[in-house]
């Protein structure tokens, strides 16, 4: 589903290298987790895949199925089925949550040549998905993420994912800032979307999320590369011992 080969990325400003030859392959139906020390480049990877400006890809490739992601505009990547749940969801004063979501959904459908969803059907769809995530109607009426608590913002990201139904979901520290109950709701939201046609890349610092969302594969990222790949036991090892041994081993 997602094929990243030898990806080298630097900041456009100052030409500072961040990703230094990253390889990653996530198959359809799979859940992969990425763990790694602060500043190792996890968010950078997610932004580069989503198409944020300010990064220069100097080498390598990233494909979603047979689509060359790096050749597309951010909105085209979204329409092709890529979704990034932001580590820091953005507040947009003046743009209502519902207007935002409906504009996004219909823009994606239009780009794929599908008919737009009517206002009534959309309302039904969002209500149902929001209920599952315990997001109340009042919150949906407010401007995007404005005045939302940290946990509410993260749940709102998952709501967007549930409504947009992407096939490649990247979750950047969606578990940070969630209370125990919200963690369970978010995990249920993710698990409900798990199927053969969809894949997840879950960036996290904690084993706790992985208790709920059992990953198929765990990667350790350090200094812009994947330094180790294993099964769920790798996350447990990080939880117990930290990164020191893994980093030393990779040297």
């Amino acid at each position: 589903m997602l094929e990243i080969r030898n990806l080298h990325v630097e900041l456009e400003e100052g030409a500072k290298p961040i990703l230094k030859g990253l390889d990653l392959s996530v198959g359809a139906g799979q859940v992969h987790a990425i763990m790694g020390p602060n500043g190792s480049g996890k968010s950078t990877l997610s932004y580069v895949l989503a198409g944020r400006e300010g990064y220069a890809v100097t080498e390598g490739s990233a494909h979603l199925g047979d689509i060359d992601l790096l050749a597309l505009e951010p909105e085209e990547r979204a329409a092709a089925g890529l979704f990034l749940a932001f580590q820091y969801p953005v507040e947009i004063p003046g743009v209502g949550n519902m207007v935002f979501l409906r504009t996004a959904l219909n823009a994606q459908r239009k780009a794929r040549g599908e008919p737009e969803v009517s206002a009534a059907d959309f309302l039904k769809l969002v209500r149902q998905k929001a209920q599952a995530l315990r997001i109340d109607a009042e919150m949906l009426k407010r401007p995007v993420n404005v005045g939302f608590s940290g946990g509410e913002k993260k749940r709102n990201e998952i709501l967007q994912m549930a409504v947009l139904e992407p096939r490649m979901c990247i979750l950047d520290e969606t578990d940070s800032g969630l209370d125990v109950d919200a963690m369970r709701l978010v995990s249920e939201g993710v698990n409900a979307l798990r199927d053969q046609g969809r894949a997840f890349l879950v960036i996290t610092h904690y084993q706790r999320l992985l208790d709920h969302i059992a990953p198929d594969v765990v990667h350790i990222m350090a200094d812009g590369r994947i330094i180790k790949t294993g099964g769920p036991e790798l996350a447990l090892e990080v939880e117990r011992n930290g990164y020191a041994d893994l980093l030393a081993e990779a040297q």
Partner: protein
């Protein structure tokens, strides 16, 4: 040897006056016009080096003849088309009786200015040129004095009781060389209420003055849109005097236009009066838009609020000069002022001069002025959800303007103007 420096102001004033003749009228109107002419001759017309015109060149507004301006051929629905209102139509600054509704509406008397001016005695005598003359201090507004002297048409509205429908002054521009001088009077008796709509563009060049008297406990809601002709030039003045516990709200939406100067001069003379003035302006290229506001708090416990937003693109210029003057004794004043510009590119500019002048000690006044670009982080967030760049820009632009639109106290009117803005964004002008 010294060369006498040519007096630009005297020359400009002289040239302009030669192109004008005092309209006919009864004794009171004649006297008011002569007094205004004397004021104008004393002040002279504005020139670029005047402090008050530092950011906006008045030359094309004061020139003897207007620069030609083509009316925009367009199929956009007329403004406020869906609002049930009494319509008063002016074409190129001349009243069009056939296109207008009969001037009959319960709770209000409506007359044309020339009809009121022809009478020997009329209540308009107590208002025509009166607020304009008061508004000449402490800052001169010669274009308004010129208007009082030479205005050829307008409406004179006296609100005495409850009014069932809004009054809509519809202004159409058809003649590419029209030069309109309109002067309207609006007088609200104690406790009376009116919604007054205005839509343009009025002419190739428009000089308009509106004098508004809002008596104790009365309320005027004024909402206008200035039309989309690209080459039109407009100078407007609204002079409002507010009585005790009265409420005055004015909102202006401006599209395009090569030059717009909107002056809003509000005097809060009775305690606990409220004045909200707001505007949204969008334009590109040679668009130059100037909001100049002067609010005088002359009584206790009054509230004034200014919210002005501009979206500028492709070399457009936005100007905001806003002053809150709090006189001695105007305790418990609550004054707020916000002016913001969204610059969609680096060639556009916003020039702002916010001012507070306060002579009372128990006062709450704040002002803020900003100019900034589109928020790139928000733009990326929207695009990452599949919203195309252009649509995302429009969403953010509307979001920026929303705070100003929210100042419109009537949902149906706000909806009408908001749809117009969306149309402007979709058409790209």
């Amino acid at each position: 040897m010294t060369l006498a420096r040519p007096n630009l102001r005297a020359q400009a004033t002289e040239a302009r006056l030669q192109a004008l003749t005092l309209p006919e009228g009864g004794a009171w109107a004649r006297a008011a016009r002569m007094a205004a002419l004397t004021r104008l001759q004393g002040l002279g017309l504005p020139v670029r080096r005047d402090e008050y015109w530092r950011f906006t060149d008045p030359a094309t507004l004061t020139a003897p003849a207007p620069a030609p301006a083509q009316p925009l051929a367009d199929d956009e629905a007329p403004a406020f088309a869906g609002i049930d209102a009494l319509r008063l139509v002016f074409v190129d600054g001349r009243f069009d009786a056939a296109a207008s509704d009969p001037l009959a509406l319960s709770g209000v008397t409506i007359e044309r200015l020339p009809d009121a001016a022809a009478r020997d005695i009329h209540w308009a005598q107590g208002l025509y040129g009166v607020l304009e003359a008061e508004g000449q201090h402490p800052v001169a507004r010669p274009l308004a004095a010129l208007n009082t002297a030479f205005a050829t048409d307008g409406v004179v509205i006296h609100v005495t009781g409850p009014v069932a429908r809004p009054v809509h002054i519809v202004q159409r521009h058809e003649d590419p060389s029209s030069d309109a001088l309109l002067h309207h009077l609006v007088k609200l008796d104690p406790g009376a209420r009116l919604t007054l709509l205005e839509s343009g563009p009025a002419a190739a060049r428009l000089n308009s003055v509106m004098e508004v008297e809002v008596a104790d406990g009365a309320a005027l809601h004024h909402v206008r849109t200035q039309g989309r002709d690209h080459q039109r030039r407009t100078a407007t003045h609204v002079f409002a005097r507010l009585g005790q516990g009265s409420d005055f709200r004015s909102f202006t939406l401006t599209f395009n236009g090569v030059l717009t100067r909107n002056e809003m001069v509000v005097s809060l003379t009775g305690s606990d009066a409220v004045a909200h003035v707001a505007g949204a302006a969008v334009g590109d290229g040679d668009f130059h838009h100037d909001d100049t506001v002067f609010i005088t708090h002359g009584a206790e416990g009054c509230e004034s609020r200014q919210v002005f937003k501009k979206v500028l693109r492709g070399g457009a210029t936005g100007v905001f000069q806003g002053k809150i003057l709090v006189k001695a004794g105007a305790q418990k004043t609550d004054g707020y002022q916000l002016s913001q510009a969204l610059l969609l590119d680096e060639s556009s500019q916003f020039l702002a001069k916010p001012e507070l002048e306060i002579y009372a000690d128990d006062v709450k006044c704040s002002h803020g002025s900003t100019a900034g670009a589109i928020d790139e982080t928000a733009l990326f967030y929207l695009r990452s959800r599949g919203v195309p760049a252009r649509e995302a820009m429009d969403l953010l632009t509307l979001a920026f303007l929303r705070e100003a639109l929210e100042e419109i106290a009537d949902a149906a009117l706000a909806e009408d103007l908001s749809a117009r803005l969306e149309g402007w964004l979709a058409r790209r002008r």
